[in-house]
């Protein structure tokens, strides 16, 4: 009799619990609030990717804007675009050129490529931010964007390193990065050549920032949403 009473109470308790859960409708999610300094507390990969994508999108937006502004102001009718072909310093990095390639490449390789591109831009962006000040009558919008891009690029690089560190199974590859030797061209005495150097750099920046943005979006959909964004 005692045991039946115990089971009855147990049943009652279970029902209460279930009903409570049903009533509250709020299952416990696996989102522990991280205390400061906690070691194991990490952002999820999804969150990391979300942030990276946002940042990359922002950088691409900025570089598109700065390029358009520069083109409108300094490159009208100078035919810079024809000269700008095949002259990006990151061109040596073989990156996927279409959707198929982007989908076929291993995500670790793609991540490393992204890292490489980002690293390759560290140096030129620093110089761009400083040299762009010397452009005659450079509007404020161009100036602050150059600085902003430089900063955001660094942040994105940090984030990407984090993602790579999380995703990478094996050892981190040697740092891929292509050096940039375009500083003298930004300081050329001939205005036309100098403007073209800026134009080209901005053109390449816009392209690479878009690349990174695009690759990150593909990666995110692939790794987080299983190609079903």
């Amino acid at each position: 009799a005692a045991s039946t009473g115990g089971t009855l109470t147990g049943l009652l308790l279970v029902t209460l619990l279930v009903s409570h859960m049903l009533l509250t409708k709020e299952g416990v999610t696996s989102m522990p609030i991280c205390p400061n300094g906690s070691v194991n507390c990490q952002l999820t990969l999804e969150e990391l990717f979300d942030r990276a994508v946002k940042l990359a999108t922002y950088i691409h937006f900025l570089s598109s804007e700065i390029f358009n502004e520069f083109e409108e102001r300094y490159a009208q009718g100078r035919g810079f675009i024809a000269k700008a072909v095949n002259s990006c310093h990151t061109a040596s990095l073989t990156t996927p050129e279409d959707k198929e390639q982007a989908q076929q490449i291993h995500h670790e390789d793609l991540l490393n490529l992204i890292l490489g591109v980002l690293r390759s831009w560290n140096d030129p962006l620093v110089h761009l931010a400083s040299e762009v000040q010397r452009i005659k009558e450079a509007p404020e919008t161009i100036l602050w964007k150059a600085v902003e891009i430089e900063e955001q690029n660094k942040r994105l690089l940090e984030g990407m390193e984090k993602i790579v560190g999380r995703v990478q199974s094996g050892e981190v590859e040697n740092e891929i990065y292509t050096p940039w030797d375009g500083l003298p061209s930004l300081q050329l005495a001939d205005e036309d050549s100098r403007l073209f150097a800026f134009y080209n750099l901005l053109h390449c920046l816009r392209r690479d920032s878009h690349k990174i943005d695009n690759y990150l979006k593909v990666l995110k959909c692939r790794l987080i949403h299983d190609n079903n964004c």
């Binding site: 999108t57 598109s64 675009i81 979006k217 959909c221 692939r222």
Partner: protein, 826 residues
């Protein structure tokens, strides 16, 4: 002929028209020479038009004469130029002669002649049109020209072929209206240059002999000018577009092909590659386009694209077009757009829009990210409202105008770059009106129910009538104010009522109100007040008087005390001294305050001003007059004491207690009366006696208060502000004695203080026992001695009082009618 005509006319008349009418036969109509023409200046022809034939076969004869001769000739040749014509051959044609030609028509009945025609050969020359026009085109050195040949007009007489004609040629493109005319000269061929290639031309020629007229245009000939043979012009690349960021297509517009079959080739090179490729697919995207499939599409690469147009004459290459496919992505419009109306909790309808990305776009892989923008407007609206919705594929629209039909469209673009797609097809949605039927039903029910209830209630009310009324609204008890004459109220004469209430100056002045309060404070003993009698309207005044006295503030307006209050109106009289006061009363007051009083009183009062100041002042003098002067001191100072004591207190003990005061006052009183006397003497000779008597009284009786018989019913008025004591004799208006209270024999003893009003006014009651015995003879004598005056006084005085008083209705009241002092309010 004429005779015949006449005879025929006679016949017609004689035969009563019938014969002629039936047969219709008559002489011929007038023929007309149409034209005369010479083809070649050597021969000529004339043609005529017959008139009516008169119903009979006609013969026509052409006669001519030459200007140089008298002789008349007939036509030499009726046949050559056809019917109704005459041909003059070389022999009969003289270019230097003018011919006069007439044509005569003749039948059985008679004949008729045309008007004569003058013909100069040289002016009637008009050749026939040239013949045998033939055309040819020729092309040499990329120039097309046209070769035209023709023959001069043929002539009947072959010998005249040597004539020289001048020619004109005209031509036009077949489809045009305007001719281009070229003067050719004497040659019978012509070469036309500057023609449009590929156009069909129409050509005609005509000719002229040196004078005369141009011939008709020859029959038309037409010829097609062949197209040019040129190398093509530069084609133009219109645009390149990638619908899904995986493939792309470029279109170009061919320029002039030089009239030859032209081939277009699209060539491209990619950034970083030297090699030039040709378009992989010319067909998929239609004519003049090149489709780059996935294999041939690279991103982050600049394509250098050119289009080359080639024909047998040569080729031409378009300007290069640089394309980075990333930036030419223009998706198709979104699909599967659905519009759904939903209702929120508040039942406000809102619109839910959902859509799908274009089928080509692969957004799931993350390769392409689309952003959407939608726009909507009311169907009749002009401006679109555009809403950028970002990457989501649904949107909720709130705050749409109900009852309107909206048009909704959506388009999309890749994020940050590329171009907006076309707008999706228009979608329509009608927002229902906000009118909620359910609510309305509820309200209607509520309304109907409430009106029903109202109906029932009112029905019950009607049925139950007063019982219900009484239940709900119990009757208000009627006013039970003593002394209010309901009858008067009912009659509704407000004036009367007001006067009855005693407040003539309505609304009451502030003075009145002040007094009102004070009056209430010193309420008198109820015993002495008249009991309200509702029976006789004649007693209204008294009733009111009583009422007002006892409880209503209004009564204070009517109170006797008002008189002195008003009497202070005279400009600030010196207050401290009674003498001054009294004098002032008689002096200034006589002129000022009393005058004012009188004038301010109602119409009924006698205008004292106009009659005599004396009478007015007399009133003033008289009222205090007989005895008041004596009691002047008594009033003011003592009054306080008396007031402090209860009413109805016999003044004597009080007075006794205050002898010192009295004593002190007395001399002053004397002086007062001296003054009074003087003044009276000066101003009013008639009042001498009075004053004298008063004085005598004073002299004879050391203390007038000790001798109660001297006392009349007296009111002591103290004007607060000025502290002027005033003694007023209250005339006892006992039975039968109306106005003339001072009638001899009515002297009474005033032993009781009826009321102390206002701390300043002492109302004394006559001792009933001593009433009958004349207390003082002097006043009586005085009054009797001056009956006229007193009468005048009285009349004046009463006239200033309330009408009720003048009516003499008051009786049995120990109170002086306060309304008698009403004028003083003014």
């Amino acid at each position: 002929m004429k005779q015949r005509f006449i005879s025929s006319a006679q016949i017609i008349l004689q035969l009563a028209l019938t014969t002629v009418g039936l047969t219709g036969q008559t002489y011929p109509g007038k023929p007309k020479i149409i034209r005369c023409r010479s083809l070649e200046k050597e021969t000529f022809s004339c043609w005529w038009k017959p008139g009516s034939d008169g119903g009979l076969p006609n013969n026509y004869t052409l006669f001519y004469s030459k200007d140089s001769e008298e002789k008349i000739y007939e036509c030499p040749d009726y046949l050559t130029s056809g019917p109704n014509s005459c041909y003059f051959d070389k022999n009969h044609t003289n270019p230097w002669t003018t011919y006069i030609i007439t044509v005569m028509a003749r039948n059985e009945i008679g004949s008729n002649s045309s008007d004569p025609q003058h013909v100069d050969i040289t002016s009637i020359v008009q050749p026939d049109a040239p013949v045998n026009l033939s055309l040819e085109t020729n092309t040499s050195a990329n120039m097309s020209y046209l070769w035209a040949k023709w023959s001069p007009p043929p002539l009947a007489d072959a010998s005249s072929n040597l004539l020289v004609y001048h020619y004109e040629l005209r031509l036009k493109p077949e489809e045009k209206e305007e001719w281009e005319t070229v003067s050719v000269g004497m040659q019978t061929h012509y070469e036309v240059t500057s023609l449009q290639a590929g156009v069909k031309y129409v050509v005609q020629v005509r000719c002229i002999l040196d004078l005369g007229e141009w011939s008709e245009w020859s029959s038309e000939r037409s010829i097609q000018i062949p197209k040019e043979r040129l190398p093509p012009e530069k084609p133009t690349i219109i645009k390149c577009r990638s619908p899904e960021k995986e493939t792309f297509t470029c279109w170009w517009k061919p320029a002039s092909d030089g009239g030859l079959l032209t081939n277009h080739t699209l060539l491209y090179s990619k950034e970083g590659e030297e090699k030039v490729y040709e378009c992989p697919d010319y067909k998929t995207a239609g004519p003049n386009s090149c489709y780059f499939d996935k294999k041939h599409t690279s991103f982050w690469t600049i394509y250098n694209i050119t289009v080359r147009a080639t024909n047998e004459m040569g080729s031409n290459v378009s300007d290069p077009h640089y394309v980075d496919v990333t930036y030419i992505v223009q998706p198709d419009p979104p699909v599967n757009i659905t519009l759904e109306l939903k209702k929120s909790i508040k039942r406000k309808p809102y619109l839910v829009l959902t859509w799908s990305p274009p089928p080509l776009a692969d957004v799931r892989s993350g390769w392409l990210t689309l952003e959407y923008e939608l726009r909507l407007k009311p169907e009749e609206g002009e401006e679109w409202e555009t809403i950028f919705v970002g990457q989501q594929t649904q949107c909720k629209m709130f705050s749409l105008n109900p009852g309107k039909r909206y048009i909704v469209q959506i388009h999309c673009k890749p994020d940050h770059h590329g171009l907006w797609s076309e707008w999706s097809p228009e979608m329509y949605i009608e927002i229902p009106t906000d009118f909620r039927v359910k609510d309305m039903v509820v309200w209607i029910i509520v309304g109907v129910l409430s009106s029903l209830i109202c109906l029932i209630m009112s029905w019950i009310m009607i049925m139950k009538g007063y019982r219900m009324m009484a239940f709900i609204l119990p009757p208000v008890p009627g006013p039970k104010i003593k002394g209010i004459d309901t009858h008067l109220l009912e009659t509704g004469k407000s004036e009367e009522l007001l006067s009855a209430l005693g407040c003539h100056g309505f609304p009451p002045t502030s003075d009145c109100e002040e007094l009102l309060i004070e009056y209430l404070e010193v309420e008198d003993s109820e015993d002495q007040q008249l009991m309200p009698s509702h029976d006789t309207p004649s007693k209204n005044t008294k009733i009111i008087h009583k009422e007002t006295d006892s409880d209503s503030g209004r009564g204070s307006c009517d109170s006797p005390s008002l008189l002195p209050v008003k009497s202070r109106e005279p400009r600030g009289l010196p207050s401290t001294l009674q003498t001054q006061d009294v004098r002032a009363k008689e002096k200034k007051g006589g002129k000022g305050s009393w005058e004012t009083q009188c004038s301010a009183s109602e119409q009924k009062m006698l205008p004292c001003n106009s009659e005599s100041i004396k009478s007015c002042t007399w009133l003033a003098a008289q009222l205090p007059g007989n005895q008041a002067a004596m009691f002047a001191y008594h009033s003011t100072v003592e009054a306080f004491r008396i007031t402090l004591n209860t009413t109805n207190v016999n003044p004597s003990p009080v007075l006794v207690g205050n002898e010192e005061n009295r004593q002190s006052l007395y001399p002053i009183a004397e002086t007062v009366y001296d003054d009074v006397e003087k003044i009276s003497e000066m101003e009013y000779s008639k009042t001498d006696q009075t004053t004298v008597q008063v004085r005598q009284n004073q002299q004879n009786d050391k203390s007038p208060f000790l001798n109660p018989k001297l006392m009349d019913y007296v009111e002591v008025h103290k004007v607060r502000q000025d502290e002027e004591p005033t003694l007023l004799l209250k005339h006892k208006e006992n039975s039968g004695k109306t106005k003339k209270s001072t009638i001899p024999g009515t002297s009474k003893e005033y032993t009781k203080v009826s009321t102390v009003v206002d701390h300043h006014i002492l109302v004394l009651l006559p001792d009933q026992r001593t009433q009958n015995t004349p207390v003082s003879q002097e006043p009586v004598a005085e009054t009797s001695q001056n009956p006229q005056d007193s009468q005048a006084e009285k009349s004046t005085g009463y006239s200033t009082t309330a009408p009720s008083d003048s009516r003499g209705d008051t009786s049995g009241s120990d109170y002086m009618d306060p309304s008698s002092f009403m004028p003083s309010f003014k």
